[in-house]
């Protein structure tokens, strides 16, 4: 299935148009090429290294709960 994972933006590097996001305990660098005006503390959906969309914290939490229910979280690694 083509899953996109919600992640919280920890920091933004405007020069490289990238961000560090938090996936549970794991931090990962992603591209912000597709979304504009992303700020630390916001949530994005990520897929193969790109942020696809911004989502609200509530929606991110609901989606992560869904993933947990499906047994898809808990073993994130970079």
């Amino acid at each position: 299935m083509c899953l996109a994972i919600p992640a919280e933006v920890v920091s933004v590097n405007e020069a490289s148009d990238t961000a560090i996001v938090s996936l549970g305990e794991v931090k990962k660098e992603i591209s912000l090429a597709l979304v504009e005006d992303v700020m630390p503390g916001e949530f994005v959906l990520i897929h193969v290294g790109y942020a696809l969309n911004k989502v609200s914290q509530e929606e991110a939490e609901r989606t992560l709960a869904l993933f947990a229910e499906a047994g898809l979280t808990g073993d994130e690694q970079p």
Binding site: C2, L3, I5, A33, L34, L45, L72
Partner: protein, 384 residues
């Protein structure tokens, strides 16, 4: 492992007798089990949130399967609108490959401003359909015009309709020699490297699937195994843009010259892109017969069970649902990646045939082939 999963591909180069290819997947193919016991409306609302990449194709497949399970039929205009969005999503995914992945193969940076434009394609069309403005507001025509403009500028440097009229290899060669876009230069580069036939192994295209046989396979005790590694009539079949476009004159010309190799596969994605505006216009005009939409295939299996088959960007997407009243008793999805990246499937077969002077030669060809068939998930490739 990430929640989205990953494909691990290892090529052990052979000496004259072909390569050994080991392919394994950690894709969460049973994620839709989360819908079990949920009211179907809730399951359908969750569908695009869970499967956010090809969200439209997944949502449409879900609605069609549920409608069949409940014995209801949507209005033709609703179906046309759904098909419009699925086709547009397919174009967006192919364009994404062209503006984000293909430049890397030429050693060039991706163009974020192009990627952003491509990514924004779906918004206005979805909004129009959600507001019930289908066919009245003129918005679908504006979306098609925008797509044409984008395809002209970023890919073909001519009207996509003119490109889709290219009907043989010679005309395609003239195009890539005269056109400065990434797409044209990538095809030229494949040709200059002599990689046109790379990965041209025998392949078996997924035929029309009889819903009775499909239902029997999926409802059986081995149904979950079928979801993980589907086979049809003993074969690990291919379902890709090439499978859909193979009857066009250009694809016939390329298949005759180079088989189902790298050049043919890349050109098949371009062919599908070039034809999208005319397909969309036919849908808007109400001229497309349902037989023209492979996505229109759906079947009621009785006993609250429905099946749908949608042609999504990467190939055929199958949904099967069993309802108990309003609640989901069982939900199964067979995605195109499981057909194409089956251990005995088209990608394995193609990678087995790759040859090159060095590991790096083989790796470059393998990367191009995997991207051309497009797994919709991260992959790790090892060549030794």
């Amino acid at each position: 492992m990430s929640a989205a999963g990953c494909l691990d591909i290892t090529i052990t180069r052979g000496a004259g007798a072909g390569n050994r290819v080991d392919l394994s997947s950690t894709r969460p193919v049973h994620a839709c089990r989360v819908f079990k016991e949920q009211p179907f409306q809730q399951a359908l609302a969750l569908m695009p949130r869970l499967f956010a990449v090809c969200a439209t194709a997944q949502e449409v497949a879900g609605w069609r399967a549920v409608e069949q399970a409940r014995g209801t039929d949507p209005e033709p205009a609703v179906e046309a609108g759904r098909e419009f969005l699925v086709q547009l999503e397919t174009a967006r995914e192919h364009l994404w490959r062209v503006v984000v992945d293909w430049p890397e193969f030429l050693g060039e940076p991706a163009r974020p401003e192009y990627a952003r434009r491509v990514h924004a394609l779906m918004g206005p069309a979805k909004q129009t359909l959600n507001e019930g403005g289908w066919g009245r507001s003129g918005q679908p025509d504006r979306v098609i015009d925008e797509l044409c403009e984008m395809l002209d500028e970023l890919v073909f440097r001519r009207h996509p309709g003119a490109w889709s009229g290219l009907d043989d290899l010679e005309r395609l060669q003239r195009w890539w020699q005269q056109t400065p876009t990434v797409a044209a230069r990538l095809l030229r580069s494949v040709s200059e490297n002599g990689w046109e036939r790379a990965g041209a192994a025998e392949t078996c295209f997924l035929p029309d699937l009889d819903w009775r046989d499909l239902n029997q396979k999926l409802r059986s005790e081995r149904g979950d195994r079928f979801v993980e590694q589907p086979r049809w009539q003993q074969g690990a079949c291919e379902t890709t843009p090439l499978a859909r476009q193979r009857h066009t004159p250009l694809m016939q010309s390329l298949l005759a010259e180079y088989g189902a190799g790298l050049l043919t596969r890349l050109a098949a994605q371009l062919q599908e892109l070039a034809r999208t505006p005319e397909v969309l216009r036919a849908l808007v005009g109400g001229f497309a017969a349902e037989a023209d939409w492979p996505g229109g295939i759906r079947s009621s299996c009785g006993d609250g069970c429905g099946i749908s088959q949608v042609e999504a960007a990467r190939g055929r997407l199958i949904h099967r649902v069993e309802l108990d009243g309003e609640k989901v008793r069982r939900y199964q999805i067979v995605a195109p990646t499981e057909w194409n990246f089956h251990p005995d499937g088209v990608v394995s077969g193609a990678l087995r045939t790759l040859a090159g002077e060095t590991d790096d030669d083989v790796r470059q060809q393998a990367d191009l082939l995997v991207t051309a068939i497009d797994p919709c998930v991260d992959y790790r490739l090892e060549v030794h």
